[in-house]
Amino acid sequence: MIAAALRLAAPALVAATVAAAPWSAHHPARPRALRVCADPNNMPFSDSAGHGFENRIASLVARDLHEPVAYTWWAQRRGFVRNTLGAQRCDVVIGIIAGDEQLSTTAPYYRSTYVFVTRRSSNLHFASMNDPRLRRVRIGIHVIGDDYNSLPPGVALAGRGIVRNVVGYSIYGNYAKPSPPATLITAVAQGKVDVAIAWGPLAGYYAARSRVPLDVSPVGDAMAGHGIPFSYAIAMGVRKGDTTLLRTLQHELDTRRAAIRHILAEYHVPLVTDDGAQARADTDHPAGDTAPHTASGGTRP
């Protein structure tokens, strides 16, 4: 519920899923909880019931630190970082673009890609944005509103002059409903569009749960024209300057790589390597370097 998510004056809602641990002598400057900023209605990433893979990763880290997880719920929209991390309501964002300038990020712990989602029965299979059939089929994509922002599939399609057969679904959707962005994947299952081009973790999770069999395949072109990257490295983020917590989290990511990979595999998160090749979820080396990521890396063409 967004009403709970955006409770401004109220203290952070504490999820009592992890028992309170004794004060950790290693982190005297921090409250005795891993204070996580998260969206309460954004499966498969996170929800207020703790069902998302980011919830699972947060619990894993907190357990190692002998701390409970304390969530501040906030819809992950414009102002999310400013109103959560920036307002000192919480201290860590579990999933964010590596190098996002608004915060300090760890080394990326996974890299996913935009994917094509099709009905298995349609016998359509796409591997490239340059596939000429994209000019004829009905394509569904996520779109944002008017604030100078776009998602990579729309930019790449428009750059190819493919617009008349493209249907936009609001990335915001109706927040009163569960996981609003999932509408795009449902649209493929329902035959409203022939193919969706969607972000991998969302597509992988909902395609796996669809009663209509769906196929998921990565957008193969690493930079599908117009300098638009289609794969993105994801890291944890903290407030700029919070180097103690950043180091703690980096240590966790370095030592818990296998367990995190296992969680991602459970949620059918499509993984790729730095060069865009498909990675196997449970064994591959995580994308990117291992030192904390500096600003403006990687994702800016």
Binding site: A5, Q76, R78, I144, S150
Partner: protein
């Protein structure tokens, strides 16, 4: 070409492109055959008078339904205004952007705050204006997360013993003006789908006219008419979609051929794109009782990347004339077809009668975000005059035959392509802050902004767990320089010429009031409340209020017979958001606006006060 290097010599309108530069400079109307020949404007006496409010009152956002922001009160004059003193003040308890204005009717002042939209009735018969009643609605806290540009509210309207206002969470509420009790409360849209309401309702006859905000979130824009007595929704007209939803029927007679055809609100878009097409209605509405038409502008089209929506994207970024009772459209004109700069067309359209080219014309006058001031026949939608009133270089003029802007291709934006030195910036040559019109001087008085922008590259970020690409928009001072980012302009709408201008350090985000003694009041973002001579622009008096002014002053006569002037002090809104704590270190925050205002926090801090001034 440097930003300073391409100014028109000696001219206030400065940045224009290349070969078009000379022609587009103010004072030379080469491409504008439609421009007037310099005849002085005149106002037919009494033409718009039948509904004039009592002289001492201020019942509607712009005082009269036409939104003139003119008061006949004349006790405060150019000679005595230097003695003006604070009479009393009132703190609203809300320290956000105050973009509206108070109302005064029957010795009571009505005030509504930004979110949570706290309403106060202040008793003007008693010293210091104590509270008669107040009303704190249960506005949903989540609505704050949906509002794009601060949680503002632009005020109320009064009629038939009721004050009517909009809640940020899409309720229109009528309160009994005597008691503050709710008469009706109508929910019009859902914050869950990104819609909010920030505009001031306008009451025309028995109809309350309202519209929504939220194009940044890709909502479907609409205007609606509600029954003043019951709050029942009489009609709703969307800005995009099939004719049935846009309320286009047999009465629709636009002047230009490009607006004639079936379902243009669908066919000027890629399939289904109109459903997320923006075109919200969040500016000031006006009403002409003589023609019985309401006029309002629509916001820019969604989604942002213009290459994803080839076509004119009707009916975004333009003005509708509608019958207020039925909502049926009468005519339409589009200021910015296929907008690629965020040039909302929401600014008000002020009905006046002028002599243009020697002919008496019934017109509306509109100062657009895109930098052109339009004088439009309000019966037909024909553009009579269109001239730049601020720096602009995205177009070289408006074609008098087609009504279309003559665009400069190098200034169009495309996602992933760098475009630099675009004027005006997305905040516009003027945002919503309204103009005033004096029937005594026949001049319009408009606030303005002189900012330009670079639209560069792509910055990846994350939304709802999904990577997206944001354009790296940076705004900066226009040709007027950092000490001249705003102007208060006196404008002759019959000729399309500036008469005088006062340059301000910051953009002027305060809509002025002009009086029967030719005194003009307005505020600045750094917190100066000023009185100037409406005929000459000469400064007469100023007073430093606590927080910057983005609201609109008004004037009224108190029960003691004295003239008072009131204004809100409360920095905020889009350009003012930086003073509310947005990081000045990120020049792209607030859609690039903070880069244009890095020094604002040195001049002002949040507040939320009403100031009332009077002569001793």
């Amino acid at each position: 070409m440097s930003r300073q290097g391409n100014r028109c010599a000696g001219s206030w309108i400065a940045v224009v492109a290349l070969a078009a530069a000379v022609a587009a400079c103010r004072g030379e109307h080469a491409p504008m055959a439609m421009a007037a020949t310099g005849a002085a404007p005149s106002v037919s006496s009494g033409a718009l008078a039948p509904d004039a409010p009592p002289a001492g009152s201020w019942p509607l956002p712009g005082r009269n339904a036409q939104g003139w922001r003119y008061s006949p009160l004349a006790q405060i004059t150019a000679d005595n205004v230097k003695n003006l003193k604070v009479a009393w003040t009132f703190s609203t308890g809300t320290a956000r952007g105050f973009e509206g204005q108070p109302l005064v009717v029957d010795s009571t002042m009505y005030v509504v705050s930004p979110y949570p939209n706290h309403v106060f009735a202040l008793d003007l018969t008693r010293t210091g204006g104590p509270v008669k009643w107040d009303y704190l609605p249960t506005t949903a806290p989540a609505s704050q997360g949906e509002a794009c540009c601060d949680v503002v509210n632009r005020g109320m309207s009064f009629a038939d013993g009721k004050v009517v206002f909009n809640r940020l969470d899409n309720h229109t509420v009528a309160l009994d003006a005597k008691t503050g009790k709710v008469v009706w409360d109508t929910k019009l849209d859902s914050i869950q789908e990104g819609s909010t309401m920030t505009m001031a309702p306008l009451i025309a006859g028995n109809v309350v006219l309202v519209g929504n905000s939220g194009a940044e979130l890709g909502v479907h824009g609409w205007a609606a008419g509600l029954d003043l007595g019951s709050g029942k929704i009489l009609w709703r007209a969307y800005s995009t979609g099939p004719d049935s939803e846009v309320k286009i029927g047999p009465d629709f007679k636009p002047y230009y051929p490009q607006y004639k055809g079936k379902d243009l609100g669908v066919s000027t878009w890629p399939p289904d794109q109109w459903k997320l097409g923006g075109g919200t209605v969040w500016g000031w509405m006006t009403y002409d009782p003589e023609l019985n038409l309401v006029y309002y502008g629509t916001a820019n089209p969604g989604v942002w990347n213009p290459d994803m929506r080839p076509g004119d994207n009707l009916f975004s970024a333009g003005v509708f004339a509608r019958d207020p009772k039925t909502g049926n459209a009468r005519w339409w004109y589009q200021f910015t077809p296929h907008d690629s700069w965020d040039y909302d067309g929401v600014n008000e359209n002020i009905p006046v009668d002028l002599t243009v080219n020697g002919q008496a014309r019934k017109v509306v006058v509109h100062f657009d975000r895109n930098g052109f001031a339009y004088t439009i026949d309000r019966q037909t939608g024909q553009v009579l005059v269109a001239q730049p009133y601020q720096s602009l270089n995205w177009a070289t003029g408006v074609d008098p035959q087609t009504g279309k802007p003559i665009r400069v291709p190098s200034k169009e934006t495309h996602q992933g392509v760098n475009t630099t030195d675009i004027c005006p910036s997305s905040t516009g040559a003027r945002d919503q802050q309204p103009a005033a019109f004096s029937p005594r001087t026949s001049l319009f008085y408009t606030p303005s902004t002189d900012l330009c922008m670079d639209y560069k590259g792509l910055k990846a970020s994350y939304i709802a767990g999904t990577p997206y690409l944001g354009a790296d928009v940076r705004m900066y001072a226009g040709p007027g320089g950092w000490n001249g980012r705003g102007q208060m302009i006196a404008w002759n709408a019959a000729t399309g010429k500036k008469v005088w201008a006062i340059t301000e350090r910051f953009p002027v985000w305060s809509g002025p009031v002009v009086t029967g003694s030719d005194v003009l009041f307005y505020g600045t973002m750094d917190g100066w409340f000023k009185a100037v001579n409406a005929r000459t622009g000469q400064e007469l008096w100023k007073f430093k209020v606590g927080s910057g002014i983005v609201g609109n002053p008004m004037t009224y006569q108190g029960p003691d017979g004295k003239q008072y002037v009131a204004v809100y002090s409360g920095i905020g809104g889009w350009l003012g958001a930086i003073a509310l704590g947005l990081s000045a270190s990120d020049p792209t925050a607030a859609l690039g606006a903070t880069g244009a205002m890095p020094d604002l926090p040195k001049y002002t801090a949040p507040g939320g006060m009403l100031y009332v001034f009077a002569l001793p």
